[in-house]
Amino acid sequence: MRDYITSYLNSSGTPGEAGNIFWITVYILLIFAGVAAGVICMNWLERKIMAHMQVRLGPMRVGPHGLLQPFADALKLLLKEDLMPEQADSVVYHLAPLLVVVVAFTVFIVVPFGPSHAVTDMNIGLLFMLGVSSMAVLGIVMAGWASNSHYPLLGALRSSAQMVSYEVAMGMAVLTAVLMTSLHGGGIYGVGGAQESGTGTLSMIGIVQAQAGQHVWFIFKFFPLGLVSFVIFAIAMVAETNRAPFDLPEAESELTAGFHTEYSGFRWSLFFLAEYAAMIAVSSIAVTLWLGGWLRPFPNWHGPQVAIPGFWQAGSSNGVVDLILAMAPVVAFVGLGGLCFLGAWRMAKNPLFRIQMLGLAAFGALLALVGLICVVPAVRDRVQDIFWFVAKVAVSMYLYIWYRSTFPRYRFDQLMKVGWKVLLPIAIGVLLATATLGVVIQAVMAA
């Protein structure tokens, strides 16, 4: 048994590939907990960031700087009465939030947090993600229909039309990136660097490895083609997750709350959870396909080789740059901890605030501790990939929040127009251009 558990640690694949049920379970639980924690963080961050963009403070009461607000909210939601409209279709009504949540979490099976940090690596990983996440719309449609109420129905109609439409443009943009994995040459235009052979793959891990092999993130590949396809995906993914400025299915000023108008308490919180999980999932696709997944930035910067005995061995390809970037998780966590300490120090010196101050300081200490643990070489090397992946996803999540506090909402027909008449033609054009360019360059290089 022990061997069974430890044997995986020496393998270099994902637990799914190794067929190790124990580690699969561990990974699933880890990812489930991680995504749930991410949703909680997002909840707090969204409220705080939006508040600061809107010249207000946001939650400040529950815990220092409202840090415990998400927990208070979760408790409130769990204790709320679970209501169902009288004429609602009870089976479908209860099934809908479950489906949405299951779908939102299932996609994380193939998300590659690192070369071996994924539940499994599927041959059709990308297709799996797109397919499963496209099932989320089913849950929304079911919720809207089963509520037997007009606003949810309108929300569901909008949602289904919107998500189906944007999937098309999204698919085309994704294909562009997939096409890039089949190129041989390295560098932005495929003419420099190592001429490793690419075969083209739909595997999420394979796609990141292709970017590593070509020494370029696909966002820079064939500039500006990669960038354009990334932008198309970035727009489509906002529409796909029903977020501002494409949040028509839940446009509060028009449809009160859209498809989840009639839901309350725990079932409503499932929709909430699924929405944020879906945001993280599509952001993961974007990061994997265009932003180099777990790869750290500046792969082409070189510095002098250094060696610190017992801590850093010389001989890595980028020398001191590697060392500096390897310290990024440490800097980030210790920095966040320092911010917490600063906040605790600046808090009003009043006995009433003592618990809050201590709490914030303790939280800061926890963060700093996590940062310091990342210094340990064994942890450092394993955490690196996950850190960069999560950091990139976090940037994308920040964009979501930023959009929401900046843009007005699109109207339905305009949304459709943007999807079908603007994004889709551009996406197809970019796809064709990428294919042509790839073939031409490889023919030239071969000649």
Binding site: R158, E254, T406, F407, R411
Partner: protein
């Protein structure tokens, strides 16, 4: 909702079940975007509006009936509760109407302070409109910006008369309170503070592609339709009619100020937005002129303690932030008005809603309700 409520006047023909459903949606009276307790019954084909009917009266308090049972001075605070967003304008209209009935006029100092407070109120009303209108269209942030800046105006009110929203700032014949020390300085400081803020709002919206898409060509109404429907205020001006009671039939000494009437061309929601933004700037211009020239002198005309206007009737109207606000007062020579009729701009403007949204989408209904800038307290009275 009463069981005797109207059945919408649409023709609901017999349908087979394969016909797509014509949805009848009841928007309001509790709805985030109807600005109060307006109820709009929408008939939709999918998202397209086939027709609508406004149901109002949920906030009816019988203000006109109350007026007949109060003395002239006692009724003064009630008018603040009609358009509570622009309470000062309501008070100005009422006081001037009664003064006209009394054949008297406020002294010049009072008039200047009235102008200052009214223009501040116009800005506050437009700010509130902008914030909620943008929120309806989905832009969350302008709401907080405008409320932050509106606070400065409310602070001036609070300092002046102790109240922030329903100010009851004026008295028949002038003002009750002398301006506090530093009043002019603070108004001036507000002008300097607020001018860049308008730029800030405009930065968020005026050139925002989505904002333009959502508002341009939406809820278009021609000048002819505006006049036929009696629509006044910024809505009328956005349709290209350069008409403002402050210029056309000046009251309260507005003829002494130099300002322009901003107009639009297309009469769509975007033009109405631009017109109101320009109006805020014009109000600042009036404010700047007014604070510099406030004359000294009494703040109350010599009027008797008990007001007994000679019997007769007057109609007096002013340019409220939302349009022409008229008071028709009939006096029978007693201490109580025989009849007060309020001609609220929102009430009349709301009639244009159906014309403006028929054939457009649900989302446009929201945008158009927002752009009409209605206040239900004034509609229902």
């Amino acid at each position: 909702m009463s069981p005797t409520n109207p059945i919408p006047a649409f023709d609901l023909k017999e349908k087979t079940y394969l016909d797509s459903n014509e949805l009848i949606i009841n928007m309001g009276p509790q709805h985030p975007a109807t600005h109060g307790v307006l109820r709009v019954i929408l008939k939709l084909d999918g998202e397209k509006v086939l027709g609508l009917e406004c149901v109002i009266g949920y906030l009816h308090r019988g203000v006109e009936k109350i007026a007949e049972n109060r003395t002239y001075a006692m009724f003064n605070p009630y008018v603040d509760r009609m358009d509570y967003v622009a309470a000062v304008s309501n008070g100005l209209g009422y006081c001037e109407a009664v003064e006209k009935l009394l054949h008297t006029e406020a002294p010049p100092r009072a008039k200047y302070i009235r102008v200052i407070l009214t223009e501040l109120n116009r800005i506050a009303s437009h700010q509130l409109w902008l914030g909620t209108h943008a929120l309806d269209i989905g832009a969350l942030t302008p709401l907080f910006y405008t409320f932050r800046d509106r606070e400065e105006i409310l602070k001036i009110y609070e300092k002046y008369c102790g109240a922030r929203l329903t100010t009851h700032a004026f008295r028949i014949g002038g003002l009750q309170y002398e301006a506090y020390d530093g009043f002019q300085k603070e108004v001036k400081a507000f002008c300097d503070f607020f001018e860049p803020k308008i730029d800030e709002y405009e930065e968020l919206l005026t050139t925002n592609r989505i904002w333009i898409d959502r508002t341009r060509g939406v809820g278009t109404i021609s000048a002819k339709d505006c006049i036929a429907l009696g629509v006044t205020g910024p809505v009328l001006r956005a349709s290209g009619v350069k008409w403002d009671l402050r210029k056309a039939q000046p009251y309260c000494g507005y003829q002494e100020f130099d300002f322009e009437i901003p107009t639009g061309e297309n009469g769509d929601t975007y033009d109405r937005y631009l017109v109101r933004m320009a109006e805020m700037r014009q109000s600042l211009r009036i404010l700047r002129q007014a604070v510099d020239r406030v004359p000294d002198g009494p703040i109350m005309a010599k009027i008797p303690k008990v007001l007994k206007p000679p019997s007769g009737e007057v109609y007096h109207s002013i340019e409220a932030p939302k349009g022409e606000l008229g008071y028709f007062i009939v006096s029978d020579g007693s201490t109580q008005p025989y009849r007060i009729r309020v001609r609220p701009p929102s009430f009349v403007n709301l009639q244009a809603l159906e014309l403006m949204v028929r054939g457009q989408l649900v989302a446009d209904v929201i945008a158009v309700i927002g752009t009409l800038d209605i206040v239900l307290g004034e509609i229902d009275r």
